[in-house]
Every structure is written in C-alpha cells, then in structure tokens.
C-alpha cells in the first residue's frame, strides 16, 4: 500500500478544449514526491494537450492545477539545433533552465560522450532523443531546480538500450523524490499509476 507523502502536484477536474472539440474533462489526480503517472490512450485523446496544460503552454478549459515546484518538459520535438554540436545543444538548455551538473557525464550516461563535438544534424532519431533526455540528468531528484518532469512519449525512437537508459533515469529521479508524468504508447519500465484518456471522468 503506497503511503502518499506531501502532494507536490495536484490537478482537479481538468478539462481541455481545442477549438470546438472537448478532448477530456473531469481529470483529477495528485502526485507526491517519488511518484509517477503514466498517461495512456489512443491518438487524439489529449495526452499531449494534458502535458502542455500542466506545462503552462496551453490554457485549461476548466479545473485547477496547483504545484509548488518547477517543471521540465519534453515534447514530441527535440528542440535541437542541427548547426550546433551535441555538447553545445546540451549546454544551452541546461544553462537556460539553471541546471547544474557534469554535462560530459550526462552525455556519457546516454552513450553520446564519443560524439560530443559532432553537429547535431548528423544524429539519428534515437541519438537525438537520447540527447534530449540527457539534459534531464542535470535536474535529478526532488531538490533539483526542476523536480516535476513532464514527458511526451519519451521512449519514441529509442531502441531497447535507449529505453533501458530512460527507465534508469526515471527510476533514479523517482528514488530521489522527483515526480514524473509521461505520456506513452508502449508503457515504461517503472512503477507508476495510470491515467487512461479517451473516457470521460478518468482519474488515477
């Protein structure tokens, strides 16, 4: 039986409207330190929109969100500049979000250390995804600058090895008191609650 610690992210009765379509409504959940929520559902049911609402990029139609901690977002797109090197891309984003940590170690962890000075334009899709994930290494744990991680299909384009690295990253973050919300088709190798979209009034 999970013992819920202090809630650091609470969502109640959230609804999302895109144009004339109501994607979901009545979504409620609460997450405490070290907890994870996996968001599943068919395409077009609002998984990405839910994450974007939490991230503050999209306005909710209805409902309340409260959180004290900062968030870090991983979208469908990688936000990498092809003309900059692997390390330059990583350094820029970590710097913009006020993160600290060993950038080279982060690259090594995701198997990109040997190509740190290569331009990001020549990377494969899987490598790009790993590079995007690498920045999260500098925001591990509940006490980091960005303890709440919002991830939109973090495992897309990753091979088995990549997915193992992702699972390790998430497990470490959770064990250090961080929070993870991830939208996924295939599921992740971590212990997490599940929120199924595509039905009205779902909760975790």
């Amino acid at each position: 039986m999970r013992h819920r610690v202090t809630t650091i992210l609470e969502v109640s009765d959230l609804a999302c409207q895109r144009g004339t379509r109501r994607l979901f409504e009545g979504v409620s959940f609460a997450l405490g330190r070290g907890e994870a929520l996996v968001i599943t559902g068919p395409n077009g049911t609002g998984k990405s929109s839910l994450l974007r609402i939490l991230a503050g990029l999209l306005e909710e139609e209805d409902g309340e969100i409260s959180h004290d901690d900062e968030m870090l977002y991983l979208g469908h797109l990688d936000a990498l500049k092809p003309q900059m090197s692997v390390m330059e891309n990583l350094r820029f984003w970590v710097s913009l979000f006020g993160g600290t940590g060993d950038l080279d170690a982060a690259l090594e962890r995701f198997g990109l250390g040997h190509i740190r000075d290569l331009t990001a334009g020549v990377l494969s899709a899987g490598q790009r995804r790993r590079l995007t994930l690498a920045r999260f290494c500098c925001f591990l744990g509940g006490d980091s600058a960005r303890p709440i991680w919002l991830m939109d299909e973090p495992d897309s384009a990753l091979d088995d090895a990549g997915r193992a690295l992702l699972d390790d990253l998430l497990k470490e973050h959770l064990s250090l008191g961080g929070v993870v919300l991830a939208a996924t088709h295939r599921g992740l190798g971590i212990e997490a609650g599940e929120l199924k979209l595509g039905e009205v009034g779902m909760g975790a």
């Binding site: 503050g56 990029l57 977002y73 797109l77 936000a79 500049k81 710097s95 913009l96 979000f97």
Partner: protein
Amino acid sequence: MSAFWSLVMRDIKLAGRLGGGPFVGLGFFIIVVTMVPFGVGADLPLLSRIGPGVLWVAVLLATLLSLDRLFQADFEDGSLDLFLMSPLPVEMQVLAKCLAHWITNTVPLIIAMPAVAFLVNLETGILGPLLVSLLVGTPSLSLIGALGAALTVGVRRGGLVLSLIVLPLYVPALIFGAAAGSGDLMGTPMLFLGAFSLASLALAPFAAAAALRISVS
C-alpha cells in the same frame, strides 16, 4: 554564463553558421541602394539630398526581411515551448534575441555604411550623423519587428503579413532617423529617435512575450 547571455551567444552562433551569415543581408542592402540611381537617374546632387533617406529605407527593408526567421526555427523545432518554461522571463529572452538579431543583421550594415555611402554621393559631413542615427534608431526596428515576428510565427504567408503589420509601426523611426541622419548630432530628431528607441525597449518585449505565448497555445 548566465541564461540571458547563453541565449544571445546561441543566436549569434546560429546566425553565423546558417547559410551566409551577415553577407546575404548585406548583399540585399547594397543591391537595394544600387537600384535607386537606376530608378531616379545618376543625378549626383539629387542622390546626395535623398541619400540619408534612401539608406535608412534600405536598412529598414533589410531588417524586415530578416525578421520572419527570428522565432520561426525555434517554433518549428519545439524550442519555443521550452523558452516559455524557462526561469529567465520571456521578456528578457525577447530582449536577448533582439540583441543578437541587431548584432548579426544590422551592425554589419552600419559597418559597411561608409563604403556604401559613396553610391548615393553622401556628403562627408553627413556620414557621422547618419551612423549615429542608425545606431540609435535601428534597435527599435529589431524590437518592434520582434513583436511582428512573434505574432506571425508559424503562420502561412507570415512574412508578407509581418511586413504589413510592422511597417506602419516603423514610421516614426524612419521619419526621425532619416531626419537625424541628415542633420546635427544632438538636434531634435535625434532626441525623438532616442526616445522612440527607449520606448520600444520598454514596451516591445512585453508585447512580444505575450504574442509568443499566444502563438504557442
């Protein structure tokens, strides 16, 4: 390096590495200035009189053309989403991008100005005031342009609409800039120009930041 300067340096780096750097804008600027004598005739006294105005218009057009790329790439690759979540206020980020834009697009034009001034037979005494007027006035072009770029990012025919909405807002800068560029250094037009630039510095980042949030949602 602080977040602000990371962003400035990143944009400067990208401008340098992306096809052509400052030279494409410079080339456009020079060609536009060259068109004028073809249009009005090689009447040296006439060119001399209209010189500051022509050079100002050419700088304005060259700046305009570079604006639709200001946020476009970031919008397309998902960087804009992350910008909006950064601890650095979006207004500061707009300022950082405007600074980088000004350095990479406009400053090369100002540097090249003494060479280009010959094309319009600019009087030697005028070059100084002209350069100062450009230094004082062109930041407002980047700032106001950023608002236009933020409003039209990712929109089809965005570049065209961008020009349409930004040019009327440029009118005071052009009027005061061209006048300041033909006259004395601390005269009325230069002061108005400075005031206009300061006002855009104060207001444009907020409007542009609001526009970015609107464009992303």
